[in-house]
Amino acid sequence: MSDVTGGIDMDDETEGVVKKFMFLNRKAPYGTIYALESLEVVLISAAFDQDVSLAFVDDGVYQIVKGQHTKGIDQKNFSPTYRALEGYDIEKLYVDKDSLEARGLSEEDLLVDVQVLDSAAMADKMAEQDVVISF
């Protein structure tokens, strides 16, 4: 029995295994539900003490743009949650440089501290994961 697993028996082989999980975000927020769903799963994953990272590629970079005010469209503004990830020990946020530039954005336009990576560096980050979950 283990407190960590909520009382569920896990055999010794699997208990305590830490895998590298990357959540790959490629959709803009609000127009579809993908960005919010990804964030929900990321927060769940934080409870399992895994090695979690987030990647923002293509329109996914729009998820972390500063100054989102959603009152006018009657939807929840979930962008402040990205700033809370640090509190869950999720500190690896990678942003694709080409995607930022194609949208006229720079690191200063983002609401959270990130590492901006060129294509080769982003490719390496993806390749080193055990699991990549795509949204």
Partner: protein, 99 residues
């Protein structure tokens, strides 16, 4: 005719095809994820800017504000609210929604 587009210009080609097929003097209203097409400095800005020579381009302000891009509106784009959206639909003979 009023053309209404709701897909990001950097993910889908709806904005592209709309601009290509809209006749001179038509209106294009960008809503939801298509409002990114109304921002300056992007890879599609030049194409939208050029299209404004023949078309009137509108963007829904609440959708720009939600996405944090209200401060990046391209020159020449007219911002409208929901009432303005209704007015545009009412004052045009027909509408085309690009899904």
């Amino acid at each position: 005719m009023l053309h209404i587009v709701n897909k990001s210009p950097l993910e889908r080609n709806a904005v592209d095809t709309c601009l290509r097929l809209a006749t001179k003097g038509s209106a294009v209203l960008l809503i939801e994820d298509a409002v990114y097409a109304a921002t300056k400095g992007s890879a599609v800005s030049a194409k939208v800017q050029a299209a404004m020579a023949n078309l009137k381009v509108y963007a829904l302000a609440p959708d720009m504000e939600a996405r944090g891009v209200a401060g990046r509106v391209m020159e020449g784009v007219n911002l409208v609210d929901y009432n303005g959206f209704v007015d545009l639909v009412a004052e045009h003979n027909n509408c085309q929604s690009w899904l």
